[in-house]
């Protein structure tokens, strides 16, 4: 650590040091971002470990013990038990497997497709823009859950299909954000300068335009993870996504809601898991946004 600080006294003077070293330097000195990263790593690690070594869990997340139905949190059951007497702590850990996968994968789908379409529409303009954006408008006109149900009807049941459906329905939002940002960024003189130099369109988009659109994409994507988790729960509620007894945060939250007065802990802990994870992703996203922006980067 001491070595690292000594090396980075003048981080930009060093020759051959890449931009990513600067970004990491800034990020690693951002306490909030690092705490968030630690939390996400912990949740992800527990989810992965519990999938490989189920014996680390205090209880079998699927074992029912009706005598413990709605048991309050105690030393034996840290987060209490649900209606069927299943240990909520074990279920929250296992639930991370599905929820994190759904959140990250569906956001990746909408991010890649949405940013590409939005970038082409915004940069090319004209007819291409009209065609792409009218298609996006059609998708936006239908409520997203209804649209996801339609996709699932075509694709079939299952959590993997739910991921694709959720990813597809949020494409228009990303496309719209990226397009509107690009419309303003591409009017900058440095884009004209790149054209005068002889850069190709692809190079201009990836090197000059998209990096300057990145902040709004990062913020939207981190927020998107939470809505993807909740959408997956909603689909599960309709019997399309997560199927019982599969442990999943959104699904646990939805079922716990029925017993909010008798056993609030059945809802609170999965809810906390979603909230904290989403908060961590948001704060980490803020940190990344600052770290990739030369103006707000820490030195």
């Amino acid at each position: 650590m001491a070595e690292a600080t000594a090396d980075t006294v003048k981080p930009t003077a060093e020759k051959g040091e890449s931009i990513w070293d600067d970004v990491w330097y800034s990020l690693s000195h951002n306490v909030t971002a690092m705490v968030s990263l630690g939390f996400i790593a912990l949740v992800a690690l527990l989810a992965i470990l519990s999938a490989i070594f189920p014996q680390i869990l205090p209880y079998d997340p699927y074992a029912q013990d009706l005598s413990q139905s709605f048991a309050a949190p105690s030393a034996a059951h840290w987060f209490g038990c649900d209606q069927q007497g299943r240990d909520i702590f074990s279920r929250v850990i296992v639930g991370g497997q599905v929820s994190l996968t759904v959140g990250l994968l569906s956001v990746s789908i909408s991010l890649v497709v949405g940013v590409t379409l939005g970038a082409i529409a915004g940069y090319k303009g004209g007819k291409v823009d009209t065609v792409i954006m009218r298609c996006m408008d059609v998708l936006l006109a239908v409520p997203s859950i209804l649209l996801a149900i339609t996709f699932m009807a075509a694709l079939g049941k299952g959590i993997d299909k739910a991921v694709v459906a959720i990813g597809l329905v949020s494409i228009p939002e990303y496309a719209r954000i990226v397009r509107s940002q690009i419309l303003s960024v591409k009017e900058n003189d440095y884009v004209s300068a790149a054209r005068v130099i002889g850069d190709s369109d692809a190079k201009i988009i990836f090197r000059h335009v998209l990096p300057n659109v990145a902040p709004s994409i990062i913020v939207r994507a981190t927020l998107g993870i939470s809505s993807a988790i909740l959408d997956a729960a909603a689909l599960g509620f309709l019997g399309l996504g997560v199927q019982p007894p599969q442990a999943e945060w959104g699904d646990m939250l939805g079922r716990g809601r029925n017993y909010i007065f008798q056993a609030p802990h059945a809802m609170i802990y999965p809810g906390l898991a979603i909230t904290l994870t989403v908060l961590a992703f948001n704060l980490l996203g803020d940190g990344i946004r600052d770290a990739v922006d030369p103006k707000s980067r820490r030195r």
Binding site: D189, P211, P294
Partner: protein, 406 residues
Amino acid sequence: MQSDTAEKNEATAAATQTQGAAPQRDKTKGEVLLDVQHLSKSFVAATSFFGKPTSFVQAVDDVSFQIHRGEAFGLVGESGCGKTTIGKMLVGLLKPTSGRIIFEGQDVTDLDPKERRKYCRDIQLIFQDPYASLNPRMTVSQIVSEPIITNNILPADQVDARVDELLDRVGIRPELKNRYPHEFSGGQRQRVGIARALAVNPKLIVCDEPVSALDVSIQAQVLNLLEDLRDDMGLTYLFIAHGLNVVKHISDRVGVMYLGKLMEIAPKNELYHNPLCPYTQALLSAIPSPDPHLSRKRIILKGDVPSPIDPPAGCRFASRCFAKVGACEVEHPDLVEVLPNHWCACHRYANVKPEDITKLARQIQYEAARPTYGMGGSDANADPISSDPDTPAEAKAKGEVLPKSK
């Protein structure tokens, strides 16, 4: 070491180039580098419901001029007169509606993208706003090296040395090359912009108001840098500006534009001492004088610039002209060479003998000039053109003969 020799070779090459073109700084009679013929550009201003254009903005209307190798050609005019549009067409950011651009004898108006790349390298652009023309997410070194890498000008291992050399040339310490644009001042950013333009060894640089966003002390530094670069590297400039004092400093010849038309082209001193077109006369009389004791007369124009959407049928300037005659409202005058090397588009000088033209121009000026408030009072300078570009002695030293005044 390698780059040192390369630098020397380049310097000698540049020296021979300038020698051939301009032995005594008379850059008006060299080889024609850029020939612009009847260039026009119109933008669609409104469309019908079905997307059919119904009205056009005539931004540039039938403009022709030539720029000689090694020359600095100034283009002046008020905002919206089409100067920048011409610059953008020359570097290929806009496609002309009609007309031809001939660069080094080759027609480059409609080139396919591959050939355009080669031509790209020869004409570069320096932007007006140094805050918008540099990508905030790239370091200075990335910005300057990008054109070299994109156009494969040097092998990868020589790029770094070349970037250092370019930054050094424009007056930025190469140690600062890993910094980002926001860490520099406006003048330094403009220098980075200049280094980027120089990176591809261009022949012609279009300077689009390169100093108007800078404060006055920095303006002088950047202008001097541009002049030095021209002398050292044999560059040719098209210098677009709305400030006459800036153009006076750097240009050899000046073209005056009004509402998309070129009104007058003349060598710098000829234009400043003997403006023929009434618009040029009014423009020159608007140059502020720093001397409060100098009371002078000015030509004050009334009214606004007509809308370029429906430009007047006659002379573009007729609606504000103080010297118009009947023909002015009917037809726009052609740009003709009324005096040697002095082109003017004005009906007043049609059928006037060359020796009477200067006299007529003076007469038009004096009739229109009105006194303004100054502290001078009795010894008021009767000459509405208060700005003195070069004293007669200075001009003589440069090999120019001034027209007789007064």
